[in-house]
């Protein structure tokens, strides 16, 4: 008899009960406690597969416990608690249910031992998360949500197609490391690639995340992409292709992040770039690189979350996240500013923050393998991250030119969430050993060597200097209202224009053909009616003489036929 108690189940069950918990503090507490309960389910279990059973000849395993899944499970759970705190003020039941379902699906996918279970929760994250976008309740977010949903579910159906092919190829649906080579594995990689926001598959993120609600964006930033990283680490460790993809992914968003006006969109590009680091780590595939990617994923959940939270707080109080409208907020939102700076320091990999202890592992892994181009590219990407998120974002929001807004400091729940997250970022940075103990591979690594620390400080300081000069001399793009074209142009403009014209063409042809058919039918019917209608020759009462003529004619014809 299989058992079903998994974190995912706990989340789903809890989500169904949400409407029955009274709104307010009680519900806030409830939402924060559920992830805690989730941790209790899997924490401390000896590695192995639990809740395994057979369905239609396929071996299903709902809960595989090992270091990797536990690490991601833990990170997701903690992030879910923080997100619940952040959304303490929220009174929207739909968002609360969606958040729990979303977190639960992500947990379920992380613990999935087989591909079917993975698929189930993979789609689960897609469906649950879209409600966080739609919950903004505007035409724009409705459309953005639809686009997001189609991409996300698209990833899911590509995954299932890959699973089908793999199942028919190998006869197994176990979720283990795969070799690229068959259509099956390519398909599965493509599915993961979409969720992971590989270049050219990335735009759903920049389209959808900034369209969500204040709290929704924070929640969204936690799960989907990190889940994809997890899937890469599990399914395609050491796949060389990933290195190149990762590099491209780490580099190209920099430019967009520097150009964007919407701060939430800036953060999505920065997130995208950080994911590139992790993909490179997965691609390098050495134990250290895997550790680095996993560690960076966990660290980025928190610092990226922290950044989204602080921008969310600004949006919550000012009603906008446009850089052009903001500036000078340090006056009235100093706490938010401090937390934001902690996040900025983290993403800049300043020593004593989480970014430092995680990112350096990936760079080191590249260094150990003597992959110079990889290393130099990642270094450049780090510089970009310091520039656009570490400096430009806090500068535009809190300093820069005074936008004249004097909003109140963020509400308590948000501050608490941000404070805890900031503390976590620093704690990881200060106590890396405890953090490393959680990583999947047992590889000794010491981030705080003298040279390491000093060069990283050099890097940050000189980039800051460059930023200061660039701002003064106008070497950076000015923040101005507007948008930046990205690949969504392909489907929002090009494709819709092409489809639109094809549609019009078909509609025109259809109409024309319909009219032609209708008119020829009418014409045909007219002829038929003319012949067979009540006054037509076939129906008319003929004069007797004519009748006899017909008879005579037929007789003659038949005779001719008979004699031939």
């Amino acid at each position: 008899m299989p058992e079903y108690l998994t974190p995912a189940l706990a989340y789903v069950a809890a989500a169904l009960l949400v409407p029955f918990v009274p709104k307010g503090a009680l519900r806030g507490l409830y939402l924060a406690i559920v992830p805690l309960a989730g941790i209790l389910i899997f924490w401390g279990l000896t590695p192995g597969t639990y809740n395994a059973f057979n369905v239609m000849g396929m071996q299903i395993g709902l809960m595989r416990v090992d270091a990797l899944s536990q690490l991601f499970g833990l990170a997701f759970s903690v992030a879910a608690i923080l997100a619940a705190l952040y959304a303490w003020h929220l009174r929207d039941t739909i968002q609360q249910i969606a958040t729990l379902l979303y977190a639960g699906s992500a947990m379920g996918a992380v613990f999935a031992a087989d591909l079917i279970t993975l698929f189930v929760f993979w789609e689960g994250t897609a469906i649950a998360s879209v409600f966080l976008i739609w919950a903004r309740r505007t035409e724009g977010s409705f459309a953005a949500g639809m686009r997001y949903l189609i991409v996300q579910i698209g990833s899911g159906v590509i995954l299932i197609a890959g699973i089908v092919l793999l199942y028919r190829e190998t006869g197994s649906i176990a979720f283990t490391a795969m070799e690229l080579g068959s259509p099956a594995t390519w398909t599965i990689l493509a599915a993961i690639g979409i969720k992971c926001a590989f270049p050219f598959l990335h735009n759903w993120m920049h389209d959808a995340y900034p369209s969500a609600t204040v709290t929704g964006t924070v929640v969204l930033s936690i799960f989907t992409t990190k889940l994809a990283i997890y899937a890469l680490l599990r399914g395609f460790p050491g796949t060389e292709l990933l290195i190149y993809i990762g590099i491209a992914m780490a580099l190209f968003p920099i430019v967009f992040a520097l150009l964007e006006n919407d701060l939430r969109r800036v953060l999505t590009y920065s997130l995208n770039s950080q994911l590139g680091f992790m993909v490179v780590g997965a691609g390098i595939g050495t134990p250290l690189a895997i550790n680095g990617a996993a560690a960076h994923a966990v660290a980025s959940i928190f610092y990226q979350g922290l950044l989204f939270m602080s921008v969310g707080a600004i949006l919550f109080r000012t009603g906008t996240a446009r850089a052009t409208a903001l500036g000078g907020l340090y006056r009235t939102m100093p706490l938010t500013m401090i937390f934001c700076l902690v996040g900025a320091a983290s993403i800049s990999a300043l020593p004593l923050t989480s970014g430092f202890v995680s990112k350096s592992m990936i760079l080191s892994a590249g260094g150990y393998e003597k992959m110079f181009p990889v290393w130099i590219a990642l270094l450049a990407a780090s510089i970009g991250a310091i520039l656009h998120t570490g400096l430009r974002l806090p500068y535009l929001a809190f300093f820069g030119s005074d936008g004249g807004l004097r909003p109140k400091e963020a509400p308590g729940g948000m501050l608490a969430a941000m404070g805890l997250t900031a503390a976590l970022c620093i704690a990881i940075g200060v106590m890396p050993a405890a953090f490393y103990a959680l990583l999947p591979n047992d590889v000794p690594y010491e981030p705080y060597t003298f040279s390491h620390t000093i060069v990283q400080l050099q890097l940050v300081a000189f980039v800051a200097l460059a930023f200061a000069l660039a701002v003064k001399r106008g070497l950076l793009p000015k923040a101005e209202r507007g948008i930046v074209l990205d690949t969504d142009w392909i489907y929002r403009r090009l494709l819709s224009a092409i489809l639109g014209s094809i549609g019009r063409l078909i509609a025109g042809l259809w109409k024309g053909a319909g009219r032609m058919i209708a008119s020829s039918l009418n014409w045909g019917a007219g002829i038929v009616y003319h012949l067979h209608g009540p006054r037509g020759p076939f129906a008319r009462t003929w004069p007797t003489g004519a009748m006899v003529m017909v008879v005579a004619f037929l007789l003659g014809m038949t005779l001719v036929v008979t004699y031939i």
Partner: protein, 497 residues
């Protein structure tokens, strides 16, 4: 009571119900009680049969020899049993729903409605249990005729026009193609019995096989294969319970069920696979899936959109048959069940929306989710099931269809199924999303308070909807049993290439 008697009973109860209904047509309460009781009684007769068939029994009975060699007879095999169970099982919630709907919408001539409904169910079960193609054809035609008054129920000019299209296409295809195919089959095989592995193998020149299959595929107009699909949207003028049960379950499923039967027991999966006779049908079904989905995207009328969605989903089942592998048959059969569950819920929701809010257009639904949360929650669940997402039943049937496509080495078909899922998302999910998350256009002036008062359809409408939505979830987790059962469809594996 032995199985053969039960078999007759399962057809006789709905077939005799009309007389009872006619007798108590003057007392609406009694009449409605009778139709609910009849639906329960029918299901009660079908259920033991299902258990018997699971145990391996194959009850058979022949009633009368119509022409020398042509027998009106029944024989139950797993596929037919499945269809009968679905049709009779879903009759119960629909019977309840009809009462709520017809009374809620103040429809006229409810007795005639109930009578024709019962006849339609009887003929659906007759189709399911038919022992040979000849018997099946007879009930197929009875089903067409008995649903005509239902489609024309409103007696408005549009209703008459829709009913005319309905009848014209179904009759034309069945007489022009299906009957010819039936007679041709009789001519070459000397029998029309359904036999494991088919009756045509070795008798039909493979060169002609695609043509005979074409006669069948187009002749079974109820399967709504393009280009003979127009009747289905046309039938949407009918009251919603009709659309729900008949045009999402009984009628259309009778079509695809016949398609599966023909593929499995007349041609034989092996014969189709060997000769490649169904290759063209694979592509036609695929095209039908995609085109119908795209057309659905352009429809603003809720029921029309659902109708085109049905056209698309039916082609999945045809596709399953045409792939000519065992998993195709299983996937197709499974899709009969899962799609029935999902689509009946969707149609019932459409009806509930009409009864409660008098809305028929999708663009009018903005903000309605606040008023009818249960209806739209169920709509969402059913829509997700239709799309084929877990944890809803539709995911499994799509899984097996994809497996079938992989088995048949049709990678492009896998792509088609994927694209179709996305199109499903695009045309189904905006409906609840709009209802829940957008503000009503005309209500902007009034406050939110007025908009958020709950105004659901009558309970008799709501309960069946919840039941069907719940079914979508339950089926996902209990699909293993269905799969085991479907494995018992005899396809004579040794005949496979």
């Amino acid at each position: 009571m032995n199985n053969a008697d039960l078999l007759l009973l399962a057809i006789a109860i709905p077939a005799l119900t009309p007389f009872l209904l006619a007798a108590c047509g003057k007392q609406p309460n009694l009449r409605d009680t009778v139709s609910v009781l009849a639906s329960i009684a029918t299901f009660a007769a079908v259920l033991p049969l299902l258990l018997a068939v699971i145990d391996g029994a194959r009850p058979a009975i022949s009633l009368i020899e119509v022409m020398p060699g042509l027998v009106l007879g029944f024989e139950i095999e797993p596929l037919g049993m499945l269809f009968a169970t679905v049709a009779s099982g879903l009759w119960i919630p629909t019977a309840l729903y009809s009462i709520g709907y017809m009374r809620g919408a103040h429809e006229k001539k409810q007795t005639r409605f109930a009578i024709c409904f019962a006849i339609a169910i009887a003929s659906a079960i007759g189709i399911a249990f038919s022992g040979n193609l000849f018997t099946l054809f007879i009930f197929y035609e009875v089903l067409t005729i008995s649903t005509y008054p239902l489609v024309a129920h409103k007696e408005t000019p549009e209703a008459k026009k829709g009913a005319r299209t309905y009848l014209a296409i179904l009759m034309t295809t069945s007489i022009l193609f299906l009957l010819v195919a039936l007679i041709w089959t009789w001519n070459i095989a000397g029998t029309t019995e359904f036999r494991a592995g088919g009756i045509l193998d070795g008798r039909l020149d493979p060169v002609y096989a695609p043509f005979l299959l074409a006669l069948f595929a187009f002749g079974i107009g109820k399967a709504a294969l393009m280009p003979f699909h127009r009747w289905l949207p046309a039938a949407m003028v009918a009251p919603t319970p009709v659309s729900a049960l008949l045009h999402a379950v009984a009628v259309v499923k009778a079509g695809v069920f016949t398609m599966l039967k023909v593929g499995t027991y007349i041609f034989g999966v092996g014969f189709l696979g060997k000769t490649g006779a169904s290759d063209w049908l694979v592509w036609l079904a695929a095209a039908s899936i995609l085109i119908a989905s795209i057309v659905a995207l352009t429809k603003d009328d809720l029921k029309a959109r659902l109708a085109y969605s049905t056209v698309s989903q039916l082609s999945y089942i045809t596709l399953g048959m045409a792939l000519a592998v065992q998993m195709g048959v299983i996937g197709g059969a499974m899709h009969i069940v899962t799609h029935a569950m999902g689509k009946i819920a969707l149609f019932m929701c459409a009806g509930a929306i009409y009864v409660a809010a008098h809305k028929t257009k999708i663009s009018q639904l903005d903000g309605l989710g606040r008023k009818m949360p249960v209806t739209f929650a169920c709509f969402t669940i059913a829509a997700l099931s239709i799309i084929g997402l877990p944890p809803f039943a539709g995911a499994w049937s799509k899984w097996y269809l994809m497996i079938a496509a992989a088995d048949a080495n049709q990678l492009i078909i896998i792509g088609v199924l994927m694209v179709s899922s996305l199109l499903n998302v695009a045309y189904l999910l905006p409906i609840p999303a709009r209802a829940f998350f957008l503000k009503p256009k005309e209500d902007k002036a009034h406050g939110d308070a007025a908009a958020s008062r709950i105004e659901e359809a009558p309970l008799l409408c709501l309960l069946p909807i919840c039941f069907a939505a719940l079914g979508c979830i339950v089926l996902f987790f209990t699909i293993g049993g269905l799969y085991e059962y479907l494995l018992s469809i005899p396809i004579r594996p040794e005949s496979l290439p």
